[in-house]
């Protein structure tokens, strides 16, 4: 602030009026008198209140009525919102005096909220369309002055500059971010064409504004370049995705009609058709069941022998099956005799004879079976026979 322009009371009043408009406009977004909301619900509260004020008419609402309208929200949220809205002038007393019971809402806040909601919906792009259309109407208006046209052109140039900066940042950033912001790229051609028309209209009506128009033109070209580069990057990566919302439907249709056969086939790269069915090996099934999350913590099993286990004997003679079999074998070998020479029994195929010898030894070793093997000293060497040597012995019945 320089010393020669000491602000007068009039200046302060004008500044206060401007600030008042700003405050009312963004009251719905204010968390407290100094910051923006951090929860979208707070904006909903403001919108509910403003809608109720619109229905209430010129009488306004009392505090209790406001609380009733906002009964869905917690009391402290409502109190906080009401305090902030009053502090910023979005809601004010019908008559400015103490203990006023009835309130009315400010028109500016509603308009500001409408604008904010629209910006949330389509990110400022359709706002750009509206601005361009409005500016074109203004330029055609005979009451428009050169200074206003210059201000409009400079504002648009600034907006396009910022827009292209944002696009360039997106283009150089990650592809996911670019995809998320992709709606900002759509319809860029329309906006460019509208801006070019506006630029032509300004330049033909006020040729002295060529400097501002040059700025606008440069900003427009920068925006066009940035938009084309971002779109190119997007469509490059769109070939690798199946997210069909990335591009407008007509673009996909154009691709489907104009692409070559190879390009169409490349879309399905990486897909396996007629895939083999998964294979579940029995061992894998067993492992999967063993790895299952358990209802109760796993208790370690007691150590078991690796041999197959017959389990607990639930019959009294469960263990006697083997003894019965050995008795059977022995009786078949003895054939009613009391004793039989081992040489004679083992004569023949060794593969069968060794099993017989094992059975006879087992019968000999079982104390409950009345048989025994008695070996003597003789040893017969028989180079041509199947057991090449045999010690002589006798398998005999023991009379208990």
């Amino acid at each position: 602030m320089s010393s020669e322009s000491v602000p007068s009371l009039d200046d302060a009043l004008a500044g206060e009026a401007v600030l008042g408009v700003y405050r009312q406009m963004f009251a719905a977004l204010a968390r407290d008198s100094g910051a923006v909301v951090d929860d979208p619900v707070l904006v909903d509260v403001a919108e509910t209140l403003l809608a109720a004020f619109a229905d209430a008419g010129e009488d306004g609402l009392s505090r209790e009525q406001m609380r009733y309208v906002c009964r869905r929200y917690p009391a402290e949220v409502f109190e906080n919102r009401l305090r902030v809205l009053r502090g910023l002038g979005a809601v004010r007393e019908v008559f400015p005096k103490p203990n006023q019971l009835r309130y009315r809402a400010s028109f500016t806040s509603v308009v500001g909220l409408m604008f904010v909601r629209r910006m949330m919906l389509d990110g400022g792009q359709s706002e750009m369309h509206r601005l361009l259309a409005l500016e074109r109407l203004n330029v055609a208006d005979p009451r428009m002055t050169a200074a206003q046209a210059r201000a409009g052109a400079e504002g648009l140039a600034r907006a396009f500059r910022l827009w292209s900066v944002e696009l360039v940042t997106l283009t150089n950033g990650t592809i996911e971010e670019l995809r998320a912001q992709a709606p900002k790229l759509w319809g860029a051609e329309d906006i460019l064409a509208g801006a070019e028309r506006l630029h032509g209209a300004i330049l033909s009506r006020w040729p002295e504004l060529d400097r501002a128009c040059t700025e606008l033109r440069a900003a427009l070209y920068a925006y066009g370049d940035a938009s084309r580069r971002a779109a190119a990057r997007l469509s490059d990566s769109a070939g690798l995705t199946r997210n069909l919302t990335l591009l407008p439907p007509e673009t996909w249709r154009t691709f489907a009609r104009t692409a070559s056969r190879d390009e169409l086939a490349a879309v399905l790269d990486g897909f396996v058709f007629d895939a083999p069915a998964p294979w579940h090996e029995p061992a894998a099934v067993v492992a999967a069941v063993a790895d299952a999350p358990r209802a109760v913590p796993a208790r370690p099993a007691p150590p078991r022998a690796a041999l197959p286990d017959g389990g607990l004997a639930d019959r009294a003679d469960a263990g006697s099956a083997e003894a019965d079999r050995l008795r059977d074998v022995a009786e078949r070998v003895l054939r009613g005799r009391d004793r039989a020479p081992v040489e004679a029994l083992l004569d023949g195929d060794w593969a069968a004879a060794r099993r017989l010898l094992a059975d006879l030894s087992a019968a000999h070793l079982r104390p409950e079976l009345p048989y025994r093997l008695v070996w003597s000293d003789g040893l017969a060497a028989r180079p041509d026979a199947a057991p090449a040597w045999l010690s002589s012995g006798v398998f005999e019945r023991v009379d208990a």
């Binding site: 083999p276 998964p278 294979w279 090996e281 029995p282 999967a288 069941v289 999350p293 209802a295």
Partner: protein, 174 residues
Amino acid sequence: MSWSPQILARARARVLGADGTGAADPAPPGLAAVADGPRAWLLPSWPDGATPALLEQYEVAPMPLDRAGQARRVLAAALRCCWTALDDAPWPGEPAPVAAVLAVYAGMTRGDAALAGRWATGELRRLADTGWLLLDEAAGTVRPGPRTALWREESLGPLRDLLRRMPGPGAAAP
């Protein structure tokens, strides 16, 4: 011009699907016919009798399968209900109610039984899609699929032991 019966059989299998073959028709080369009453299922037979489990020995990744453990547990639960004669082969098995399979599966897992049932229903459908189970949703029954006939007899021992140990549908989960 004459065509060999095997080529005709392959063409018929391509047109009619895997289950359109009569049991008496010749099997096309490379496919094994798994008899199921009057019909036969045509399934790819593995060269040299090896199964895809061999891939593991060569450290080659098999076909990726989402939630393989869960699918195999559901398969085990279904086999517990359908493969009643454990000394025989699992194929063709007997139809069992889906509810019994879900009960067995719910007994195997922890957590919400209704949620486990929903997961298991999805896995039953996926297993039915790939021929491991035959699911009759209208009748609410399930039975082993023809693919279980491709299991080699030697590999079935541990599975039989597991199914003998597994609690049946009647046993309530603790």
